[in-house]
């Protein structure tokens, strides 16, 4: 699973939420065998949920609201 993640994006998001704990900025070699590390990743991936907030596109700055845990990624008519 971890190879499928954009690691830096995950760490940044966790950081902004105040839930980074001590996740490394880069993947360490042999992370697959590091129990402690894997538990932290599991936690941040599956146990931390944004209920209210927003997602911001790093390129355009466009914000997508999150309400009740659901991000609304619908574009407005003029944006499509």
């Amino acid at each position: 699973m971890i190879p499928k993640l954009e690691w830096s994006a995950l760490v940044q998001a966790a950081d902004q939420l105040g839930h980074r704990e001590d996740l490394p900025g880069e993947l360490v070699p042999d992370y697959e065998k590091n129990e402690d590390f894997l538990k932290k990743v599991h936690r941040v991936l599956l146990e931390v949920e944004v209920i209210e907030g927003s997602l911001q596109c790093p390129e355009s700055g466009r914000e997508f609201p999150i309400s009740k845990g659901i991000p609304n990624m619908l574009l407005n008519e003029d944006e499509a």
Partner: protein, 503 residues
């Protein structure tokens, strides 16, 4: 085609003794009750299961995987049979591809019906007292105990709030009835099975009043009949057979508040008598918040099995509706991660509610919560997902009759398939798509040969409509480089302009 491997568990009436009625019935019943009884694992019986039509093989696979026995697929569509020792009964209830379960009392492969209706019905009546009921009834009793132990299954808690799954299942039955017609076996004769009222609450109360083995047992007979050579109707068979059963056991007949439901399934020359082990279909187990087109969980499970989710797979449902498919996946194939999305407000809300409901139920039982699933509101033609990042796409595409419209599908399907091809990983990626609009789908897919390849199709029945589940493989072609892409993206710009003008 039904293949028998175990002669003990199957009985065929002696084909040459057609005239001799007694040998049909007397000779046959020995087999069921003479199977070995192992003190540790219990008696061996045959279990029958109804499964979504088209998914008989996946159901048989699940049985092999979880129970460890080979299942036979009946000629009567949507049914499989397999032998178990009674110690496996609780495991059988955990099967996810099964709608309903019953224990076989007796089965006849080539039942020779009499010429006249009168004689046929009279023979059925005589049959009642000659069948090997013992083992099946033992299983029925055992099953009842299991249900009581489980507690949450069919305890009548109608007074509780909607958090109780079973109560909401029943409450939503009204909605279910509109959209989920019970599967009928044949169009040859209009006879349907007797009404099945979901009266599980009162039923349970009756059970409590009757201690196991107590005298007054209430029953009813449900007959499913299919075939064009029968001289009788399912109602007549149910009535007469039921009358004889009542005589024999001195049970009380009750259409709505019954303890035992005897099943009489007749499909051409195949006759199976069974006792039901499930009161209400298991197919709505995960969903407490229904939508207009919610798929039953057994169908969701069948579709998921078809695409064989692997650990770490990213699985997308871009038109999730109430989230039935990804939710079933998150529970049953939990080593993958599911992203459910829809453009509709109500749909995403219902999805989240359904997920929360399950998470709460699991937390109550002490399981770790945190199902591997997230919900997003998005536009199918502009998925906020990186190119080539999804392993499997699985969804129920709008039918046109129940949702959307035929004309809309004409435009929607190709753009769907393109966007899905974009996000899906080339070469290893797969898609499992359910749709009733086979014509539209075929046309859309034919224009996508560079991106999608059809691997397999399963024909199913969804709410009375004939639909197809298409298993597709993503080609190795990188998106944006096949000739179809280039053509389509040019065309797409134009159609978007057009849409705006229309608004």
């Amino acid at each position: 085609m039904k293949q028998s491997t175990d002669p003990l568990l199957r009985m065929s009436s002696q084909g040459d003794d057609v005239a001799e009625q007694s040998s049909n019935t007397v000779a046959a019943p020995t087999s069921s009750s003479s199977t070995e009884t192992d003190p540790t694992s219990g008696t061996t019986v045959t279990i029958g299961a109804t499964v979504p039509t088209g998914f008989e093989h996946t159901a048989a696979e699940e049985v092999k995987e979880k129970i460890g026995v080979d299942a036979q697929i009946s000629k009567d569509r949507g049914r499989i049979y397999f032998p178990i020792t009674t110690d496996k009964l609780s495991q059988v209830h955990l099967l996810r591809s099964v709608d309903n379960l019953f224990v076989v009392v007796a089965e006849y492969d080539h039942y020779q019906f009499k010429e006249s209706k009168e004689e046929t019905l009279s023979e059925l009546q005589e049959l009642a007292s000659k069948l090997p009921w013992t083992n099946a009834l033992e299983v029925w009793r055992l099953n009842r105990t299991l249900k009581k132990k489980k507690g949450h299954r069919k305890v009548g808690n109608t007074t509780k709030a909607k958090s109780n799954t079973e109560a909401s299942d029943v409450a939503a039955a009204a909605e279910v009835v509109q959209h989920e017609l019970p599967e009928e076996t044949s169009a040859a004769d209009g006879d349907a099975k007797a009404e099945r009222t979901p009266d599980s609450e009162t039923c349970q109360q009756d059970l409590d009043e009757n201690a196991p083995g107590a005298k007054l047992i209430k029953f009813r007979v449900t007959c499913n009949r299919a075939g064009d050579k029968h001289s009788f109707s399912s109602n007549e068979a149910a009535r007469d057979f039921g009358g004889a059963v009542q005589e024999f056991f001195q049970w009380k007949a009750d259409m709505t508040k019954f303890d035992i439901e005897v099943l009489l399934n007749i499909h051409n020359e195949e006759v199976v008598i069974g006792i039901a082990l499930t009161e209400e279909s298991l197919h709505r187990r995960n969903i407490s918040h229904f939508g207009p087109t919610t798929l039953r969980s057994t169908l969701c499970y069948g579709m998921l099995r078809l695409c064989k989710p692997q650990a770490s797979d990213i699985i997308l449902d871009p038109m999730c509706g109430t989230g039935a498919i990804p939710l079933e996946g998150a529970i049953e194939f939990s080593e993958s991660f599911y992203i459910a999305g829809d453009n509709n407000d109500m749909a995403v809300n219902r999805t989240v509610n359904n997920i929360c409901h399950i998470q709460k139920r699991r937390a109550d039982k002490g399981s770790p919560s945190g199902l591997p699933i997230d919900t997003v509101q998005w536009d199918l033609s502009n998925l906020p997902i990186r190119t080539s990042s999804v392993d499997i796409i699985i969804t129920d595409m709008p039918f046109g009759k129940r949702m959307g419209s035929r004309k809309k599908n004409w435009d929607l399907y190709p753009s769907c398939l393109r966007e899905m091809a974009r996000v899906c990983r080339p070469d290893s990626g797969k898609a499992v798509l359910l749709t009733q609009d086979k014509k539209c789908f075929a046309k859309a897919i034919s224009r996508m040969g560079g991106l999608w390849r059809k691997l397999h199709t399963v024909w199913v029945n969804v709410g009375g409509l004939h639909a197809g589940v298409y298993l597709l493989k993503r080609t190795t072609a990188v998106f944006g480089q096949t000739p179809e892409d280039v053509h389509e993206s040019r065309g797409r710009g134009d159609s978007q302009m057009k849409e705006r003008d229309d608004n």
